[in-house]
Amino acid sequence: MSDKGKLALYWAASCGGCEIAVLAVNEKILDVANAFDIVFWPCVMDGKVRDIEKMPDKSIDLCLFNGGIRNSEQEYMARLLRRKAKVLVAFGSCAHEGCIPGLANMNSRDEILQFVYKDSPSADNPKGVLPEVETKVPEGTLHLPFFYDTLKTLGQTVDVDYYLPGCPPEPERIWDAIVAILSGKLPPPGSVIGAETTVCDDCPRKREEKKIKEFKRTWQIIPDTEKCLLEQGIVCCGIATRAGCGALCPQVGSPCIGCYGPNAGVEDFGARMMTAIASVIDSEDPEEIDRIIQEGIPDPVGTFYRFSLAHSSLRRSNRAGNGKPAAKEEEAEVSGR
């Protein structure tokens, strides 16, 4: 065995973009391979969970984990890799904040299964078969992971050492993080490896006073190329979003949708956005304000929590069945944080 460090990569509820982003460090991937033996990376090379289970605890130096926790298998892998890794990094927005998969927290497990397996236009399922955790066949019992009602972030599942934001993280930032980890120049555990400024700070657009009578969707307007998009009535999340991408989207006329997550000091991304957006509305009449908001922002959760619903204060929508007094043991669970 070489004395190189050991690196593991894993994906849970994710789109695969983060895996590709790792490869986008281009030829530097060879430097990564020089520094680390890659012991586990299911997307790219063969490797068995059982081999990881057999490794001594803390024998993996670095694990880059992308994706949220949607089912019991992903939680099992998160716990396993937490045990085996010295440094566990929540890699990308899905692991950090839940990201797009976390938007499914607007619905319950039953609603999701119903739509995906029965109601969606492309579903062809005349018998209405739904996935079961256990299926008996003549040869024995088959198992599937248990699909959770709520998507959790990696940090809500196990202790995470560092967060690398972005959907996906930019290759330069990935490289910065790897260098920081290799050289031991790391911020305190639990922190986000990244800038502490906002996308607005990197954005070349000119800012004046923001006063809005009406919000516009991107398809309703060809924006002025110089002026701040928010001043033109387009909801731009640059204000609350951590810098790291170089303000890619507003530079080409598309609003920042917040993929780099909350800037340092922002506890709840959506709340910060709501504050910012509310304060640009130019009206003192409650009815007019309601109208501007309801017409201009038809999907507030998708607008303010596109990447961070699972990570937010509320984590998910109110589930049916609330309103009844909690059973005793449930009450204890709810009050103990």
């Binding site: 099992y76 709520t150 709501m274 959760v301």
Partner: protein, 166 residues
């Protein structure tokens, strides 16, 4: 709650200059109203960030009341208009999160309106009482199912392995 009666927990953010004084007046003039509002005094309703309300719900509030000076009468001139816009924005979002309307309310009450404050609290308390407890955290607790399911993996893997997983 255990004996079947439910007392709603309502967190009230009251501005120092009007609504807090209204509550004070209600108290000193012995107006009777339900004791369900836990009052947090803020300098201005405009200081109330949506984060405050979200935190309150997250930590177990059944309702949140935001109260400030009447529009046009803000001690800091225009800040309660900010509160108005933020309220509308947050309300819109909370609606999409399937939170019942009655659980998040806005009240304008001047320092002289002890009665108005008391009446509103009484009304809101009844409305929230009818809805029942919110216990937001219950929304994301899988009722212990996840641990049971994960145990199954360990078992399966242990059975198939020569070395135990832990």
């Amino acid at each position: 709650m255990s004996d079947g009666t439910f007392e709603p927990k309502i967190v009230g953010f009251l501005c120092n200059w009007c609504s807090y004084r209204a509550a004070d007046l209600a108290g000193s003039s012995r107006v009777k109203y339900p004791p369900n509002v836990r009052i947090i005094r803020v300098m201005c309703s405009g200081r109330v960030d949506p984060t405050f309300a979200l935190k309150a719900f997250e930590l177990g509030a059944d309702g949140v009341l935001l109260a400030g000076c009447h529009p046009g009468e803000c001690h800091y001139l225009e800040q309660n208009y900010k509160a108005m816009r933020r309220f509308s924005m947050l309300k819109h979002t909370l609606r999409a999160m399937k939170l019942e309307e009655e659980r998040f309310q806005l009240l304008w009450a001047s320092a002289a309106e002890g009665n108005r404050f008391a009446e509103h609290v009484a009304k809101m308390t009844e409305e929230v009482r009818k809805l029942g407890p919110l216990s937001w955290r219950r929304n994301w607790i899988e009722k212990g199912l996840d641990d049971k399911e994960i145990e199954k993996f360990l078992k399966e893997h242990e059975e198939a392995m020569e070395v135990p997983a832990r």
